[in-house]
């Protein structure tokens, strides 16, 4: 499943919200042209650019586990993060990435 611990509670206690999120998630990751893998890399880039450690860690783990996305591929995403968003999100993401892959 694609959801963290927060979502377990949403599923149980706020069913209407949970279903809307499932619908949103499906529509988001069912691209007309781009494949799921590429969309995952884009999500990873956006979360890293936002300097959100928790979100980028979850994205990286899911990217490596579900899609065999490699460290080099993630670094290629982070190159773009560096250019568009500066050093602090880039170094934070590199630290997270190496903690996950060493």
């Amino acid at each position: 499943m694609f959801f963290g611990e927060g979502m377990v509670h949403v599923r149980k206690d706020y069913t209407d919200l949970y279903e809307a999120i499932v619908g949103l998630n499906d529509a988001a990751f069912t691209g007309k042209v781009l494949d799921y893998r590429t969309q995952k890399l884009i999500a990873l880039g956006i979360n890293a650019a936002a300097s959100d450690e928790r979100a980028m860690k979850k994205q990286m783990m899911s990217a490596m586990k579900e899609f065999d996305i490699t460290r080099d591929e993630i670094v290629d995403v982070l190159r773009v993060v560096l250019l568009t968003s500066g050093m602090p999100p880039f170094t934070k993401a590199m630290k997270v990435l190496y903690e996950l892959t060493e």
Copy 2:
């Protein structure tokens, strides 16, 4: 060229800075594994997620002109923007996209 009007001045008046930016840009878009086209889509997603109208417009124009990236592909990027960053950046990006493609 990948630069807007601001960069014309940097090139002329701040040469050291200009060269550093060229070096950064080259390193950013010379992925080890991902191709330039995919990296462009990631840059587009990050700029759209940041709700930066000027930056996303430039990314979209360059994506369509240089890489024949289609509207459907950009919408597939924006699906991820909606999920990760909410409605305001998504609707802003859709508006910009249709202004460019109609």
Copy 3:
């Protein structure tokens, strides 16, 4: 309708996405306890805090038209924006608010 011009195109060209957004919007604004009016004020505060001129303008117009939300009420929201997010989003929002109400 709650949607801007970008959404007109989504409705026509990307039906699956449109339906997911409608579902999300419904779940978001169907609070268990808080009424729609209060939720609209919260949305207005979040958009103003994000310094997003386009989004805050749309929120203010819809707030005043659909819910008879007054200028004083919006200023009460912007007081919180000032405290949590600083002067630039506050002054931008005050400018937009007075352009709409004068």
Copy 4:
């Protein structure tokens, strides 16, 4: 008191700044029309939307302690956060909320 540990030091070491903050806080939360409770919910929504774990946790604790704001009410705020700001701040806020209420 509304202040965290950082403010204890400001009060003691930077009196002029402390007094300005007290004045700002009073003006922010003394709405002309909206009551304090509603303004607190707005502040909570803005902090959650900014994905600031520390700030949203403090807002949630103070909301529940001082105003008997319930979990359902906070979830109603977070519904708006999901719509305006996307999944990462929403899931982070849900996680914090359930840690505080279980």
Copy 5:
């Protein structure tokens, strides 16, 4: 005066809020050690990093008019913006700067 058009209305219609803002502004720009000029450069850097065109333009104009801050000094601020916040805010700020100084 340090205030834009939005503040004219605050002064007239929301006196308590106006006074709190004046107090905050005074406390903010009355550094114990740093002079006002340096603090202005810091404010300019923060507004530029936030990619806020309106706020950075006001900061640049006030910096040049009140403190004879030069273009080279502002570019030195923007160098730091590039490093910490990436290309989009940097190129936007360069464009604004050259529009103001040509």
Copy 6:
């Protein structure tokens, strides 16, 4: 050295990227007019305004160690952060600052 742990890996595994970052860093902190110390204070302000705990902590430590920047000077930077970016980044930065200086 100016780099955190993430950069150690970049240096070893992604040499081209590392060199581009060194070039960028040099160009960023080699101001034409402003001295390195002032530019460091600006970087600190931008990182604090972005509410990035990790980045502001590193900036504060390096500022105090390399430039004998004092707590009062950093508080003068944070006064500007409060005005431009609101209470949450300000209180977070004050907490970090006092943890480092007590």
